[in-house]
Amino acid sequence: MRLFDPHIHMTSRTTDDYQAMYRAGIRALVEPAFWLGQPRTHVGSFEDYFLSLLGWERFRAAQFGIHHLCTIGLNPKEANNPRLADSVIELLPRYLEKDGVVAVGEIGFDDMSPTEEKYLFAQIELAKLAGLPILIHTPHRDKKRGTLRTLDVVRESKIPERFVLVDHNNEETLPHVLDSGCWAGHSIYPETKMDERRMTVLVQKFGAERIIINSAADWGVSDPLKVPKTVNTMREAGIPEQQIKRIAWDNPRDFFVQSGRIDAETLERDVVIDQRKVHEDNSVLRGQQPVVQDG
């Protein structure tokens, strides 16, 4: 079964992780733009980070056989920085247009400040202009209230709910997110947040529709294999294979394909580092001299 991890911060992971992910069946991932553990002090830091998601990290993933897509946006924590926030927003029209960007994100609330709300609304508008779905980070503190306020913002902004993935859900928030019509993401962690066993119970209770799982692995204690491990736990609990596939491949694929930036057929195929090699007959890359008129 091809597996998809739609929320993982590979910039903080090693090649060991890429190798292990590939061996465990992961063939596609989405790396959302987020903070780096401490606040950035220059808008250029954001810009170079966006470029690294689009460039080096995509290349690194391809070397290990994994399709790498990303989201671009101003994250909730750093939205609170008045010196930089507007400058980062100004970058977005150009960066949202680039190859491999499948959503605006991670956006949402962290402290539930008015500033965070302002930039959440602003970035939803940019997503609508760009025709992109959005990836929403729900706060870890006061989560239920934060999620409910998030759903209010989504409703007020009139972005279609099918274009909205609300992430980091738990038992308290999931029913509300499903009721709203949005997609519901769950980050499976070793010690905190959600785990495989609880996720399995949620699936038994709510089914597979619009349910998405991810590892949200980052620089902290986290596990880039949580998607395959959760698949195993669900399987052992007797959840039908069809539902498991839906959760671990079809749903994330269907959500991000809405961006128009990637198609399902490409994701089904093995990643190719250089697409042109597929098409060339007389590739210079195979050692033949090109015809060049020097002039």
Partner: protein, 234 residues
């Protein structure tokens, strides 16, 4: 500037892309020639990859062969991006031209960077882009390195000897064929041969394979000048 080269590349791109994308391309080409051309090129450059696709242009047709550079391996997106760059370049004030190209390169993702490197030999006074091209060779993203090192006349024409030698060594390191480096026949120097010798010794000492192209480069030196017989050559 760039008129007929840009037009030809635009035609090649159109031929290699689906009909529904040609309108997008025509519209952005018109915008690139307008007063606001520079700004609109930045956005069009970004979106060209997924809009126009990765189908290869026909590098063997008469039109392609009339170009100053070979376009083997170029996609519709590559050709369109180079055409857009050339078209907008002419309207950029002279003192801002290097900055304009650098912006497209350093703020471009991979596909955009590839297009900038391919465009360099087509720009007037292209020698001033040598620092950018040398910087591009530092990458470990193989496709990016190939865009400057393989089938591109720029390094052969503009790199100084140390930079050119480093390019050849980097090709060996990355497993990129040296046979595609334009100008390598004319630029094998005693210093490059010394670097190859040291590299070969290093690989043999490590019990690792020596790239086949290493021997091929040596044959170029033997063919082009009369040399002392080499000792210890396999």
């Amino acid at each position: 500037m760039g008129g007929s080269t840009a037009e030809t590349l635009l035609d090649l791109a159109n031929q290699a892309t689906a009909a529904r994308h040609r309108e997008w391309l025509e519209a952005h080409f018109r915008a690139a020639r307008s007063a606001d051309g520079r700004r609109s090129v930045l956005v069009a450059f970004a979106g060209a990859g997924r809009r126009l696709g990765s189908s290869a242009v026909d590098a063997d047709c008469e039109m392609a062969k009339s170009l100053p550079v070979g376009v083997a391996g170029w996609t519709a997106a590559d050709a369109a991006r180079v055409a857009l760059l050339l078209t907008a370049y002419g309207d950029v004030p002279e003192p801002e031209r290097v900055g304009f190209v650098e912006d497209l390169y350093y703020r471009g993702e991979l596909g955009e960077k590839l297009a900038v490197l391919r465009a360099l030999p087509l720009l007037p006074d292209s020698d001033r882009f040598t620092p950018l091209a040398v910087e591009a060779c530092r990458t470990n993203v193989v496709g990016l390195f190939e865009a400057i090192a393989v089938g591109n006349p720029f390094p052969g024409r503009h790199f100084d000897e140390p930079s050119f030698n480093q390019l050849v060594m980097k090709a060996l390191f990355l497993g990129v064929t040296a046979r595609g480096i334009l100008g390598v026949q004319e630029r094998v120097t005693p210093e490059l041969l010394r670097m190859l010798d040291d590299y070969e010794r290093e690989r043999v000492a490590a019990g690792r394979a020596v790239p086949a192209d290493l021997g091929w480069i040596r044959t170029l030196a033997v063919a082009s000048t009369a040399r002392e017989p080499r000792e210890g050559k396999p």
